[in-house]
């Protein structure tokens, strides 16, 4: 539901979205060194696969966005990673389109960055204190920021196109509510799990050790 189809939005909205996304991706790409390329790619693939999973929520099911978590784990690199995942979804699954890609990327990447800036410091503190409750809570908030932010931005894009979309935007916001609940709970569980199993993945600005001895021919 986070993908606005082609042909709905007006030209100014499309162009603004494309320009802002281009600028953000250009900035993030400058930061992406070749050391972290596999990491970003594998995480982008991981989030793509996670978005295919239908999670039961009440009478129907939802597909996770996980952009809040992606922001926590990748920071600025979440922007190009999301762009790639969204391009694949547009071209091969028909979600969104080529010209609306900029807006869709912005709608999903901006909340990811927001959760990175707002939640990461809190998460780091919780990791240091090894406080299970705080860890779960910070994950929950990151998930909630991701979904609520995306919902609000989708709505905003529609309303900026024309006031006649206000009613549709409100309905779409309501459809985000079950996702908001499920995603924040699941993100909380994910953060709790990762903090227990591999806490180094969540720590920000911690150099990732490159273990050359572990390289296998299967890669």
């Amino acid at each position: 539901m986070a993908h606005i189809p082609e042909g709905v939005l007006s030209a100014p909205v499309l162009i603004t979205g494309a320009l802002v996304t281009t600028a953000a991706v250009a900035y993030a790409i400058r930061k992406l060194d070749y050391e972290r390329l596999p990491q970003a790619a594998v995480l982008a693939a991981c989030f793509f696969v996670a978005s295919l999973v239908a999670v039961p929520a009440g009478p129907s099911s939802v597909h996770l966005l996980l952009n809040g978590l992606m922001g926590l784990m990748l920071g600025w690199l979440a922007v190009p990673a999301l762009l790639v995942a969204l391009l694949l979804q547009a071209v091969f699954f028909g979600f969104g389109g080529l010209l609306v890609l900029g807006v869709n990327c912005l709608n999903i990447a901006l909340p990811a960055l927001l959760s990175y800036y707002l939640v990461s410091p809190w998460l780091n503190k919780a990791l240091l204190a090894n406080n299970r409750r705080q860890l779960f809570m910070s994950g929950m908030v990151a998930g909630a920021i991701g979904v609520a932010g995306t919902g609000a931005l989708v709505c905003l894009a529609l309303v900026l196109t024309g006031p006649q979309y206000l009613a549709a935007g409100k309905i779409i916001l309501v459809t985000y509510l079950p996702l908001l609940v499920v995603e924040s709970l699941i993100t909380g569980a994910i953060v709790g799990f990762v903090a227990k199993v591999a806490p180094e993945l969540l720590q920000r600005q911690l150099p990732q050790p490159l273990v050359a001895e572990e390289s296998h021919a299967t890669n």
């Binding site: 594998v42 693939a45 091969f92 699954f93 006649q164 390289s215």
Partner: protein
């Protein structure tokens, strides 16, 4: 266990499969542009017919196309459902005291037609292409190298991680896991995805190591560089002219 493929299988004619991937991507962009410029009903129907013709001509399988169309129709219906009632204009009919305007219905139809035509054309032109070829097309169109490499590696690892995910799901099933709307399910999914993330990151570190020990210096070599032939120019010109036809019709008949 089923292995995962992004692209849908199409029985493409050989001349089409031999085209430069950039031609297909650019044709899809031009189709989208033409669709966005159209706002009259009949030319849009012509464009949709053109998209249908493309899916048939390029040998797409209807079952797959319809499945993908249905998945996107949900949002589409939500977007246009209220347009008849919110667009001001000549009243046409009323439901539960809300008046629907003629202009609103037309606008809803226009958006439905536009969206469907674009998705059909995109799936037909690009959706049946191997993802790696799409990466070559992006590289050939001047997309920054790092972004293309990110794209290529993501495509590679989607298949691997999908299998990993299936394995974990099978393990859960073997332990009698049944999904429902409850905290147990959501926590279990959280742990499943968390495990997937942890394993992905371990894999990423192994890949980094493997790339390093093979002397990766920031340059990937594309195995088959894309090559622009004269037939690509011809096909692209023809396609653009074809996609412009409804636009010209709109221009002459409706004057905008």
């Amino acid at each position: 266990m089923t292995s995962f493929s992004l692209q849908h299988q199409a029985l493409e004619p050989s001349w089409f499969a031999a085209l430069d991937p950039r031609t297909r991507l650019l044709a899809a962009v031009f189709f989208t542009l033409s669709a966005l410029c159209l706002s009259a009903l009949w030319p849009l129907i012509a464009l949709l017919a053109l998209a249908l013709l493309l899916t048939i001509l390029l040998g797409c399988q209807w079952r797959l196309i319809i499945k993908r169309l249905l998945a996107f129709e949900g949002f589409m219906v939500l977007v246009v459902l209220f347009l008849p009632f919110t667009v001001a204009g000549k009243p046409w009919f009323a439901i539960a005291g809300m008046e629907a305007s003629y202009q609103g219905v037309i606008q809803a139809l226009v958006i439905l037609l536009r969206g469907n035509a674009v998705v059909l054309a995109l799936l037909a032109l690009v959706g049946s292409m191997e993802p790696v070829k799409l990466g070559y097309a992006l590289a050939g169109l001047g997309i920054p190298e790092k972004l293309v490499q990110l794209f290529m590696m993501t495509v590679r690892y989607i298949g691997v991680l999908f299998d990993e995910h299936q394995r974990l799901r099978t393990a859960m099933k073997a332990r009698a896991f049944v999904a429902g709307s409850n905290w147990h399910t959501w926590r279990s999914y959280g742990h499943l995805l968390g495990m997937l993330l942890v394993r992905s990151m371990e894999r990423a570190q192994r890949i980094s190591g493997a790339m390093r020990c093979r002397g990766f210096n920031g340059k990937f070599h594309l195995l088959t560089p894309v090559k622009w032939h004269r037939r690509d120019t011809a096909v692209l010109t023809l396609a653009v002219l074809l996609f412009l036809l409804p636009l010209e019709w709109q221009w002459w008949q409706y004057g905008f």
